[in-house]
């Protein structure tokens, strides 16, 4: 068979990878010959690819980015070296070939030494990248600790206790807020969020729309620094219940509220 697939979902099923045998072969033999079906398959792939967004968030370590950049930098250098090597080859005549008999063994030796050095260089590079990643992480923790100390010591910092709203999940959250510094620190606890929901902390300004201060999954909250717009006068902090991952603006019910007095 080499006609159009009979059912439109066949493209999605192929993209999902569940088709086998003749059903799979029919798509693979037809699509390269049919622009219309190739477009339908591309659209199906796009729909199925959206399932990737449901995977739990896992950030890659900083070392991956370091290794990648080092890898592409090395490949660019090798490409440049090959280009430079081709120029003398074009100019080589009788004398070039005579000298080649002498130079080839020397080059082989040099290549061997270079390969050893490159391996060693790569190993050192990996270790350096790991060290850099660790240092960046430690620096970040140190900065956060300094911010927290400055926040707690400032006379402009206010403490806001967020109270549970009637009929809402239980929780006890406290926010230390400094509008001049544009920083807040949040701690306490809130009972686990219902399925497919997240708690979201908001700073409610005197004027304008609420500003998201982060998403909470429920349970104990480790003391947590939040960076907010500097100089914005706030009248309250609130926690709402939102779809998993949070929303740009509050849409769900208020679970905890704390006015700034």
């Amino acid at each position: 068979m080499n006609g159009h697939p009979t059912r439109p979902e066949d493209f999605d099923l192929y993209a999902l990878g569940v088709l086998e045998g003749e059903e799979k072969a029919a798509i693979e033999s037809h699509v390269p010959t049919c622009a219309e079906c190739a477009k339908k398959l591309a659209e199906a792939r796009g729909r199925i690819a959206l399932l990737a967004f449901t995977a739990p968030r896992v950030e890659p370590s900083a070392a991956v980015r370091e290794r990648l950049m080092r890898q592409i930098h090395s490949s660019a250098e090798i490409a440049g070296a090959k280009h430079a090597q081709r120029e003398p080859e074009r100019a080589a005549g009788f004398f070039g070939r005579w000298w080649a008999a002498v130079l080839v063994p020397a080059c082989i030796l040099l290549l061997f030494v270079a390969a050893r050095l490159r391996t060693e260089n790569e190993r050192l590079g990996r270790e350096l990248a790991q060290e850099r990643a660790t240092m960046q992480q430690q620096q970040k923790q140190l900065d956060e600790a300094r911010h927290a100390q400055a926040l707690l010591e400032s006379k402009d910092t206010v403490s806001v206790a967020l109270a549970q709203q009637p009929g809402m999940p239980k929780g006890d959250v406290r926010v230390m807020y400094n509008s001049k510094m544009g920083m807040a620190m949040c701690d306490g606890w809130v009972e686990p969020a219902p399925a497919n929901k997240s708690y979201q902390l908001w700073m409610v300004p005197m004027e304008g729309k609420p500003v998201s201060a982060g998403v909470l999954d429920g349970g104990p909250i480790n003391p947590w620094m939040v960076h907010l717009p500097q100089g914005m006068a706030a009248k309250a902090f609130a926690v709402t219940l939102e779809p998993t991952g949070g929303m740009p603006q509050p849409t769900g019910p208020m679970v905890l509220v704390g006015p700034i007095t």
Binding site: R7, E9, D12, L13, L16, G17, V18, L19, E20, E28, V31, P32, A38, K39, L41, A42, E43, R45, G46, R47, I48, A49, L50, L51, A52, F53, T54, A55, P56, R57, V58, E59, P60, S61, A63, V64, R65, R67, L68, M69, Q71, I72, H73, S75, A76, N196, P243, T244, G245, G246, M247, P248
Partner: protein, 185 residues
């Protein structure tokens, strides 16, 4: 809410791809920063092995560096394409086989109907996709996840769940129809 349109997204990704073709390392770094988190999450979900996930993550972006000239942003979505390639490599590693040339050939174009460039749009999309999955029955959702995250075929899912093959096929087909309706609505 983002004011960017799909056209602006393609132009932005297209500009970075063009710079990569010209060997601009910072352009690759920018695309990595934009999409590495999405791919890392997907790879870890499939492989459940951080080291293997990071190897494939690095390799996918290295292949983008090597083959950027072959990617035409006007014909499809870069994040969609990266997600398809990353998933294929992870499933291949899981099942210890290499994808056939035919599969690679058919997977060059991926059209995603929404702007994936910024985090807010991604969050909203996450809500829609999760909502679409929530509308499925438990059995349908499990079958879709076995297919997408473990790379199982109809027969393998039937074998894994102990359900008749016909039941599994119907279950997945109706689930896919439902997902398609919800995501296009």
């Amino acid at each position: 809410m983002s004011g960017q349109t799909g056209t602006e997204l393609r132009a932005s990704d297209a500009a970075l791809i063009q710079k990569i073709v010209q060997r601009d390392e910072s352009a690759l770094a920018a695309l990595y920063d934009r999409y590495a988190s999405l791919l890392s999450s997907l790879l870890n979900r499939i492989l459940r092995d951080t080291q293997a996930a990071e190897e494939i993550l690095q390799d996918v972006f290295y292949q983008l560096w090597l083959n950027a000239a072959q990617f035409d942003p006007a014909r499809g979505s870069l994040p969609g394409w990266l997600a398809v390639i990353a998933r294929n490599r992870a499933i291949s590693r899981l099942r210890r086989h290499n994808p056939s040339d035919g599969e690679e050939l058919l997977e060059t174009t991926v059209i995603v109907p929404v702007n994936l460039e910024n985090a807010i749009t991604q969050q909203q999309l996450l809500g829609r996709v999760k909502g679409a999955l929530d509308n499925l029955s438990t059995e349908q959702r499990a079958a879709i996840e076995l297919a997408y995250f473990e790379g199982l075929t109809h027969t393998e899912i039937a074998s894994r769940t102990g359900d008749p093959l016909g039941t599994v096929k119907t279950r997945i087909r109706t689930a896919v129809e439902s997902l398609k309706r919800t995501l296009l609505s």
